[in-house]
Assembly symmetry: C2
Homo-oligomer: 116 residues x 2
DNA sequence: AATAGTGGTAACCTATTGGTAACTAACAAA
DNA sequence: TTTGTTAGTTACCAATAGGTTACCACTATT
């Protein structure tokens, strides 16, 4: 609660998604079903493969996403929001709305994810 | 918008508050008016004075908080949410709610800031 | 035979974050 | 006279985050 800073719920949330990449990765997974590693890589041009796979691993360990591996050659790996991950949607939406709110009008977008 | 990752509103938001300390500092400023540096320091036991003053400076540069200095000895400095900072309340509340939602029941709190 | 495609990992490097201790100025209290 | 007080800053160092490049395994294609 607000009166007990050392045990604040915001601290807990920050522990899960309080860094540069995780909210952005999660938003990429809102647009429906499973997304391949390579597609994420292309969509997020600024992130390196190493950091992306590292962040995906942490998100999976934290139970926010699910990793599907297919025993094919060349390999195929897909990522998907977990049920717990979906509970973050209000947080991601609030972040999206605020970013939109402070953006110059010509850079504004709309929130229309497929996952609800 | 979700279709233009390189220009996503979430990226913008993360640029302002996507780190370990800023959301936590901002939440400390929701409980009404101006708060002294020393009080913030005590409330957030885990942050060092150096990092706290650094983060406060960035928040001020980004226009999210206002810094009031009084020409007294010993010095007095107080921090306050700006109007722009107050527009972040829905984001902070969503983060708070999610952290609360995943917390064990005995660690849950209530959201009752004085600033609205 | 060489190349492309996939989802990584390893080695290496830089940049940012964070921590500690010492120092400042000016006044008040002991 | 010494100490305490406040909100820092500076110097120095360690730890973490993030980035770059190269490489792998295996198959299909050229």
């Amino acid at each position: 609660m607000l009166q007990n800073p050392e045990n604040c719920a915001v601290v807990r949330t920050v522990g899960y998604i309080g860094n540069k990449w995780k909210p952005i990765i999660l938003v990429r997974l809102l647009n429906g079903g499973k997304v391949r590693f390579g597609k994420l890589c292309v969509q997020m041009a600024d992130i390196s493969r190493k950091i992306l796979s590292q962040q995906l691993k942490e998100l999976e360990e934290d139970g926010l996403i699910i990793r599907h591996t297919y025993m094919e050659k060349p390999p195929r790996v897909e990522y998907e929001l977990s049920e717990l991950g979906k509970t973050l949607i209000p947080v991601l939406k609030a972040m999206y709305d605020w970013g939109n709110h402070i953006a110059p009008p010509e850079q504004r977008g709309t929130w229309d994810p497929i996952v609800r």
